[in-house]
Assembly symmetry: C2
């Protein structure tokens, strides 16, 4: 249990809604329903409708900044608008996978937390402590450190066995546990059979992507969820692109959520 | 030796200039010489002067995108201007340390290569092959994969000994070597005594930060440089912030370069 305001909001949203689903905002002009114009302004209308229809139904939003960046500066303006439209009780988890040497990570924290007003972010641990530390100084935010990701490439380095007998992702979790200032969580993919093993190493919250199109199932991802901890289970494509008309979109999203969590 | 146009430009610039120095563009309003206004437009004037005075004296530019991002969208406009002002024969190495699951890395490549027109980028290998692969599909670009970075935190994970006897950064170099499409290089810090050992594992180019304020020395960084390979040795603060007036700045930069490489 973390004494942290973002953690508090997540916990309260989970208690109220009775599920742990977070909506991944990965806007893509080529995938938006045919009702919308295939342009930046069509994408903007799409995001307005999605946030309006889902804001009382999901525990958090997880925009992946790369999907906005792909449209250049226009895309980043869209991200600013998404932030502005998100109610304060729904944490805005900016999936940015940043990290760099100390003085540069300070700049990254400025961009993500101060400029975009993210409540939480994702960080890549490869470069070690001084690469994570400037983010941890934001004690009222949450920092999700990549541990065991949902993609096939997670087998290349993350699961390598160390001389100590531990695997790299286990070492990442154990070491980062000690760096936390009441504000660390971990990213572990829903597709990973080692999810339960990862949970045994920490009581910190897990951000779990990979449900839906990537093949992970909500019911598996929720297994072993610590009664004291929090799981944030992310679905992007399965919620964003599985409908065609914004008419009664709140009811459509409600139905999609029921299907995913059942 | 890579058959790659960016590699070709770097090699030709090194032959012409007789050194391997790359200028790191890490703009910071708090550090610019007192001659400039402490504002975004002051920073813009500073960058105009720096690029104009150095463009025939350095083998490449390495803007770290995080320093631009710290000023939000205004900062990213500055980055666009820097790109536009860089002559085509001087590679623009966008230090972005990106990486994500495959469909997201595609978006990151669009942003860095297509939108900003980077000639080369840096990528974090933690998430494995499908996290690097979309960048490698840009065969005319260079992708520098983080191996052994210049910061103290490099000891946390990068140098961990694996069950195989190799250290993690060695495994990263050996595995990534096999993924190259004539377009891979590695980031190894000038501060690392294992720089020569890292060179023994690959003939691919090395991007070497950490000279100057971080404590690395050019003469050490150049040691063991493969006659067939290329070293890009980066200096940021030592070139950017070691002068006060733009008067005869080209001569000042020439003198600073001579000091660094001697």
């Amino acid at each position: 249990m973390l004494s942290n305001p973002v953690y508090g909001s997540l916990k309260s949203n989970i208690d109220r809604l009775g599920h742990c689903l977070c909506l991944g905002l990965d806007p893509d002009i080529d995938k938006i329903p045919s009702y919308y114009e295939k342009s930046i302004s069509g994408l903007d209308m799409f995001l307005i409708d999605v946030i309006e229809a889902s804001k009382d139904q999901v525990i958090a939003y997880k925009p992946n900044i790369s999907f906005f960046e792909a449209y250049g500066i226009e895309g980043l303006h869209l991200l600013e608008k998404c932030r502005a439209r998100t109610p304060s009780h729904v944490p805005f988890i900016l999936d940015a996978k940043r990290g760099d040497i100390g003085n540069t990570a300070v700049k990254q924290a400025t961009y993500l937390f101060d400029y975009f007003g993210a409540d939480a972010i994702t960080v890549n641990p490869y470069m070690g402590h001084d690469n994570v530390s400037p983010f941890l100084d934001y004690k009222d935010k949450l920092i999700f450190v990549l541990a065991l990701t949902s993609n096939p490439g997670s087998n290349d380095f993350e699961t390598l066995k160390l001389e100590s007998g531990k695997r790299l992702f286990e070492e990442v979790i154990e070491k980062t546990n000690t760096w936390s200032k009441n504000n660390v969580g971990f990213v572990v993919g829903a597709t990973q059979t080692d999810l339960v093993q990862a949970r045994s190493l920490t009581s910190f919250p897990f951000l779990i992507p990979g449900v839906g199109h990537q093949g992970g199932r909500y019911v598996d991802a929720i297994k072993g969820s610590d009664a004291n901890g929090v799981s944030i289970i992310n679905a992007s494509r399965a919620l964003l692109y599985s409908w065609d008309s914004p008419k009664n979109l709140d009811q459509t999203i409600n139905r999609l959520i029921s299907t995913i969590i059942s």
